[in-house]
Point group: C2
Chain length 323, copies 2
């Protein structure tokens, strides 16, 4: 996260330990799997989920050691899901680095994902709290449903905006919520605060994914570190596409682009122009902002000003990334 | 398991509930994943791992409800690992039924495996015992290491018998041991008994896998429900192959078969004849029996005669399957 200066000092410090611990636990076991898994782990994630664990973990007590382990487990589950996602998408690169599929093969990617799931649950089980395992299991379940949902709805307009929202909830929002629930639970926060944090995480995750989908269409390639239009190329029907289809006079062309599995760069460029000529991007950003507002509304009752301030900053960051 | 009459009545009864519960929990969530996962789940496994959970769960107290849930979780982890294994092996059939790869595609198989891992951990987390989660996480980790180990050593003689033993420990023995540890823990057995059951499970699992590898070479196709020589075709170097290579005058031919990725039926048949002309099968069975003896030795201290008797029967079944 680039706006790290908005985080409390202890979170910034402990985030370094999370980073070291991630490398250590992944490297500690099987050589080849460790090597493969580390490439994805080190491909430059923003570590938003560990940040959420640590911040939520400040609400009441702050048990750094437990929180660091929990943050590591959450990031490992996220990374495992990215690795399996790349198998499903047949993706060759992630943030400019080769995926495990590309550098090794799909088989290594399947095992490497399982390996990280195993380490994550092993770490979490040592925290001796069945509730943490329960919410994490539910997150893994949601991720698998989200993965398949995403794959099955590619290149297809036979889906609604509600399908899209359900998909991004499974794929992204549930793990954001889980990160918050785990942190707040370890902090021994009040039940009402834990629930509030859960709602914050879920809405933040929705906003995050929606804004990610915006960036794929209107982002800056250099700032993003990846080309734009990837989702279109992969047949993902995202919110800007849904909204543009409703409004554009070039609906037939855009429909065709969505359903086409072999798009040229030229066709992607034209589709982006069509979307940008509508109010879809603006409206999508407005809806993403709406989710952030719901997220911030959920944490109004949090008494710890430091935590609430940082959670607000993250909300702003999510819908203002790379402007 | 065909020798079900050797099981105590309560285990036989509860095994039916495990079966119903397996179907119920897998069907309860996402439609497509459930449908895919059920094909593998229903492909006719022997449910040895659930049996071990239930039997070990009889040592002291017998809490049927908890044990049934735990048995379901263990079988789901096993099934998830089979599904991912089939992706890694590119297998088209399992026990005569099409694999998820074949009936759907590899992508669905990756998600279906993750889906079952998620359900398994969700169920286990409800049993409110972090130790169960810890041993299950370690099993998932071992399975992922075993999966990759198996894939990396295919078609290669650059491995030792110790490598083979380490691989089958990760791939099979750890989950057998886990099933026993979970059952005995839920039974609130004494620590020394829980540990004894763990050693029993591990050694039983070693024997089971070794005997499985024997059946691939000298089994009866009709009884097995699958062709023999599959492991050879897939480049798996199993104990009978290791032993035959040491003894046969046709070492060069057999080496070539192992390293050949495109074997004909004729070549497989000849390789099997070469192996059968040595003492390899007999010696492999002897070693499998040695593991069963270690397994039975471990449970001598178990006071519950019913449980010990059934565990002994399973030991005999494992090395005497289909004679």
């Amino acid at each position: 996260m680039s706006k790290g200066h908005l985080l409390p000092l202890c979170v910034k410090e402990d985030l370094k330990q999370v980073e070291d611990e991630l490398t250590r636990v992944v490297s500690s076991k099987e050589g080849k799997l460790a090597e493969a898994a580390l490439t994805t782990l080190k491909a430059g994630g923003k570590r938003l989920r560990p940040i959420l664990v640590l911040l939520a973990g400040m609400i009441n007590l702050y048990d750094a050691s437990k929180l660091i382990h929990a943050a590591v487990a959450v990031e490992l589950v996220h990374t495992a899901s990215l690795i399996h996602d790349d198998v499903l998408d047949g993706a060759d690169t992630r943030r400019g680095s080769p995926t495990i599929n590309a550098a090794w093969n799909k088989k290594t990617a399947v095992s490497a994902g399982d390996y990280l799931f195993g380490i994550a649950f092993e770490i979490l089980s040592k925290l001796d709290n069945p509730y943490l395992m329960k919410v994490m299991s539910e997150a893994v379940l949601a991720l698998s449903v989200g993965e398949l949902h995403q794959m099955r709805t590619r290149y297809s307009l036979n889906q609604t905006m509600d399908d899209y929202l359900a998909k991004i909830k499974s794929k992204t929002a549930v793990l954001f919520s889980t990160a918050c629930l785990i942190g707040a639970t370890l902090s021994e926060a009040k039940k009402v605060e834990i629930e509030a944090l859960g709602r914050y995480g879920e809405n933040l995750g929705m906003a995050f994914q929606i804004y990610d989908d915006v960036l794929d269409i209107s982002g800056d390639k250099k700032v993003l570190g990846k080309p734009i239009g990837i989702d279109l190329k992969d047949g993902m029907v995202t919110m800007p596409v849904f909204l543009a289809l409703k409004e554009t006079p070039q609906r037939a062309y855009l429909q065709n682009v969505v359903e086409n599995v072999n798009l040229t760069e030229e066709e992607i460029k034209k589709a982006i122009e069509i979307i940008e000529a509508t109010s879809a991007i603006k409206e999508t950003k407005r809806r993403a902002k709406g989710f952030v507002e719901k997220a911030l509304g959920a944490i109004e009752l949090i008494e710890n000003d430091d935590v609430r301030g940082s959670l607000c900053s993250i909300g702003e960051f999510v819908i203002d990334r790379y402007h």
